[in-house]
């Protein structure tokens, strides 16, 4: 946490859904920051607002109000995206989901280097970097396989490679190990952590798996849209 510029800085992010009877305040005034290489777990019961926060940070859904800076660049001001959301996603954000992360008609290597090629990185360099990161995640031998030819754990490792190859400031992961068994889930979390730290990305990972919490630096807890960035209670219990 020595780096003076946080990878992510959020202030007063709020989001509601619906009107009248269906009104839900899904996120209330969330304020926090995460540093490069820092891994943060986001815990909370179902419907507490975890995905809502992730989609706001991923510029998928805009918040009602609030301010957000990613990689030192202001991306949300007064609840509105500033600049080209696509460009920010291509350069500064990485995503890993529960499953179906990969494009089925592209090989593992193509899925990974796609991110670079979408940002006009030359093919040769993209191939080289894709091989490199697949190697570091232990799936280099599956580079030419299509997603359906890979096991669940291999798919998630390729997805992590895809999410980190462009060295984003922020990696957003929504229960990346939920479809894997416990051992494998833990192994994938370890790889995610190592790869993120190597590339200096801040990680916000939604998880229900309390047994993997020893692999994270900090814990955010959320309940009814209220974010508690101390997560003191849980931390004490698990470590």
């Amino acid at each position: 946490m020595s780096d003076p510029i946080p990878a992510v800085q959020a202030r007063s992010l709020s989001k509601h859904y619906g009107e009248g009877n269906t009104y839900v305040l899904a996120l209330k005034e969330a304020t926090f920051q995460i540093h490069p290489g820092e891994v943060v777990a986001l815990l909370g019961p179902s419907g507490s607002g975890k995905s809502t926060l992730l989609t706001i940070l991923g510029l998928i859904n805009p918040p009602d109000t609030g301010w957000l800076q990613v990689g030192g660049v202001e991306v949300i001001r007064d609840g509105a995206v500033v600049g080209d959301a696509n460009l920010i996603r291509r350069r500064n954000l990485g995503f890993v989901f529960q499953r179906s992360n990969l494009i089925p008609f592209l090989t593992a290597e193509e899925n990974v280097r796609l991110v670079l090629e979408l940002d006009d990185v030359p093919r040769r360099e993209a191939v080289r970097r894709a091989r490199e990161i697949l190697e570091s995640l232990g799936v280099a031998d599956r580079a030419r396989h299509l997603p359906m030819q890979l096991s669940g754990g291999q798919q998630q490792r390729v997805a992590i490679a895809r999410a980190l190859i462009h060295e984003p400031s922020l990696l957003l992961a929504d229960e990346p190990t939920a479809s894997l068994d416990k051992e494998l889930g833990r192994r994938v979390m370890e790889l995610l952590r190592t790869a993120a730290i190597e590339r200096g990305a801040a990680v916000l990972v939604v998880t229900h798996d309390h047994r993997a919490l020893d692999l994270v630096d900090r814990i955010f807890e959320i309940e009814d849209g209220v974010l508690d960035t101390e997560g003191a209670k849980l931390r004490g219990a698990t470590r």
Partner: protein
């Protein structure tokens, strides 16, 4: 990285099957175009090959192709005397259906050419030679299936095939056969001996009953060959074809002839109009309508296919959006796939057409301009149908990826 090629390759057999299906549909569109052109070409092939500038027909008729026309045979001489007329030829035609001795039916349009002015040398003769004798020779179209030297009995005479023409059908789609004018008239007016005898007897009876019957010479004459009777005169012809001296304006000659009260004059272009606007109009419109319908069906089908292909990869599209892909990358992928599909289908249609159209019973005429027109239509359909897919892609929500 080309996404569309990779997507297509991923389920190539399905893509290929779709392309083949669409290709066959386009083959039918092309066939319809060809048949449409063939109808026009067939209907105008005969008048075109006769190479007349003006057609003189019976007053107020639309003959000789669209309806029956009868003009007197001395019209040829009268027309020849008009200044600016270089050549005048009589024309007769009638369709007959007979049987060869071996029982094969023989249906054709017998056309009479002015002997010795027109020997059929201007016709597209592919084998044999033009007419060389004033009688008992004929030229037949290859579609009739007769061979050179074959002898065909018609009426009380036997005619020898001396030449074979190609692609000369009459407006009804029947093959043409060419005879000298008098032979054609003979075939047309052939009646049995008994009918002739009865006819002559009736004629003599009519003469005897009238004041003319007091002249014994006239009574004797009335029982003879009709051609020899001065009062009956020669048989009429269908029309007279004129060729105009080079340098003389067609309109001038036509206007002058138009003044004659017993006839109507059409230019070659007007004859075309009469044939296309009358004889084959319904068939032409029918085929044209069918062709239009098939183009619409192809467009709808292709739209559905592209839409389905887009829906099938909507998750990937949402993922691409999430990865920050430019909209042009996503829309380009859909457009490329549509163009690829249309392109393969088009190439298939052209290739299949090249082989299949020769075995069609009717003439199929496909020129490069028609292939180009179809290409234009295919590209337009591809773009239009990819627009349907693009609309779906634009609506794809990255949230769907999170929900999955």
């Amino acid at each position: 990285m080309n996404l569309s090629l990779r997507d297509v390759r991923h389920d190539f057999s399905r893509f290929l099957l779709t392309a083949v299906g669409l290709g066959l549909l386009l083959t039918v569109v092309l066939a319809m175009t060809g048949i449409y052109n063939g109808i026009i070409k067939d209907a105008t092939a005969l008048p075109d090959s006769l190479g007349a500038d003006l057609w003189i027909v019976q007053r107020d008729t639309r003959g000789p192709f669209a309806e029956l026309s009868r003009v007197s045979s001395d019209l040829e001489e009268r027309a020849r005397a008009v200044p600016g007329v270089a050549r005048a030829r009589s024309y007769v035609s009638h369709t007959i259906q007979r049987q060869l001795p071996n029982g094969r039916p023989l249906r054709f349009t017998a056309v009479g050419l002015s002997w010795p002015d027109d020997l059929g040398g201007g016709l597209p003769i592919v084998r044999g030679r033009p007419l060389a004798q004033p009688h008992y020779e004929c030229l037949v179209d290859s579609s009739l299936g007769l061979s050179l030297g074959q002898r065909i009995p018609l009426g009380r005479d036997v005619y020898t095939v001396v030449g074979i023409t190609d692609g000369l059908l009459a407006s009804g789609g029947d093959p043409s056969a060419f005879f000298t004018l008098s032979d054609a008239q003979r075939i047309q007016n052939d009646v049995s001996n008994e009918a002739i005898r009865l006819d002559r007897e009736a004629r003599s009876a009519r003469v005897r009953q009238s004041a003319l019957g007091r002249d014994p010479e006239l009574v004797r004459f009335s029982g003879k060959n009709a051609q020899l009777i001065p009062a009956l005169g020669p048989l009429p012809v269908s029309a007279v074809m004129l060729n105009i001296d080079p340098g003389v304006p067609l309109d001038t000659v036509q206007a002058r002839l138009q003044g004659w009260q017993d006839i109507t004059v059409y230019s070659q272009a007007e004859e075309h109009g009469l044939i296309l606007g009358g004889v084959v109009e319904k068939t032409r419109l029918q085929i044209g309508l069918f062709r239009g319908l098939l183009v619409v069906i192809s467009a709808i089908l292709m739209g559905l296919i592209i839409y389905t292909m887009t829906v099938d990869k909507i998750h990937s599209i949402a993922l691409l959006k999430l990865l920050g892909a430019r909209m042009t990358v996503i829309l380009g992928m859909i457009l490329e796939e549509a163009l690829l599909l249309g392109g393969i289908a088009y190439v298939l249609a052209v290739i299949i057409g090249n082989f299949a159209f020769d075995i069609f019973p009717r003439r199929v005429v496909i020129e490069n301009e028609h292939r180009l027109a179809l290409l234009g239509i295919v590209i337009a359909i591809s773009i239009a149908s990819s627009a349907i897919g693009m609309k779906k892609a634009l609506a794809a929500d990255p949230n769907e990826v999170l929900a999955a």
